[in-house]
């Protein structure tokens, strides 16, 4: 079911307010889930469940937050940074994120910064409009 970007953003903001207990004005499009909004792994699951209900879709976790498969593959990580093939994998698995800044210093500890409110909206926009 197609939805406008504004509608999606509004719904995402409400989900994040409920799941993370933050105020709506903290949920800017650039806000990172972990750094700015304090989300942890249980919150990521809570968010996925709520988004599934809100948009009546199934969201395989590896589609929205695929970092784990990246982190666990030795071909993709070297000295705490993503390798070339790691970055390629990232580009393929997470087209909804903006890796332009990240690729200059692909430190795996900074991977979490890719999960922004915008990334979620991008993912949903694509998924809902493809259906």
């Amino acid at each position: 079911m197609a939805r406008s970007r504004e509608e999606i953003l509004k719904e995402v903001q409400q989900v994040l307010v409920d799941a993370l207990g933050v105020d709506d004005d903290e949920i800017t499009t650039d806000a990172t889930l972990m750094g700015d909004l304090g989300a942890e792994s249980i919150d990521f699951l809570d968010i996925v469940f709520r988004l599934e209900k809100a948009f009546a879709i199934k969201i395989p976790r590896e589609e929205l937050f695929p970092a784990e498969s990246l982190m666990n593959n030795p071909n993709f990580i070297s000295n705490g940074k993503l390798t070339k093939s790691g970055l390629e994998e990232l580009r393929n698995k997470m087209p909804h994120t903006d890796i332009s800044k990240f690729q200059n210093d692909p430190d795996i500890n900074k991977l979490g910064d890719l999960f922004t409110v915008n990334a979620i909206v991008n993912y949903l926009e694509k998924k809902l409009n493809a259906a």
Binding site: D18, I42, D46, F49, K53
Partner: protein, 167 residues
């Protein structure tokens, strides 16, 4: 004091919802501290009654293979309090379930009064918490909990033949 906050199940639809019952009695020592002269079942123990009802519901949905632990109280609201002599019903429903976690909603009632609404999230800890070591056996679902389901006919919404919990 035994750490069990439900007495029996009166309804159990596998993978979907369940209703448990707990009787509240003056014989429970902790009530005499909360509060001395006016015993009230502490709200945190109402949450635990829900956690055990919903946790068993989630655990049974995976045949008790997962160690199901309370990870987050999404929201709980209390409208009234519970006293000795009251019998409460704990209604739990699975909202979502995935390999690593589950989300439940539910309410606690006492006769026709709404006592609480409680939404929880459970983690299947072997699938999460990388790096932490846990005993191999499922220490969460002990005989004490599994015995609550003994003799219950667990209906499944999608099949005609109910299954019963093996003793």
């Amino acid at each position: 004091m035994r750490w069990i906050w439900i007495d029996k199940f009166i309804e159990f639809q596998s993978g979907d919802h369940a209703v448990a019952v707990k009787n509240v009695t003056l014989a429970e020592e902790h009530l005499h501290d909360h509060f001395p002269g006016f015993p009230i079942m502490p709200e945190c123990l109402l949450i635990e009654a829900m956690a055990q009802t919903a946790g068993i519901l989630v655990g049974e949905a995976k045949n008790f293979k997962e160690k199901v632990i309370l990870a987050k109280i999404k929201k709980c609201v209390f409208f009234d309090y519970v006293k000795p002599g009251d019998s409460i019903k704990i209604h739990a429903k699975i909202e979502s379930i995935a390999p690593e976690a589950a989300s439940t909603s539910g309410k606690i009632t006492c006769e026709d009064k709404l006592i609480a609404q409680i939404e929880l999230m459970f983690s299947h800890i072997d699938q999460n918490l990388a790096g932490k070591q846990f005993p191999k056996e499922n220490f969460v679902f002990t005989d004490m909990f599994r015995s609550l389901l003994r003799g219950m006919v667990l209906t499944r919404p999608d099949c005609d033949t109910p299954k019963s919990e093996q003793p």
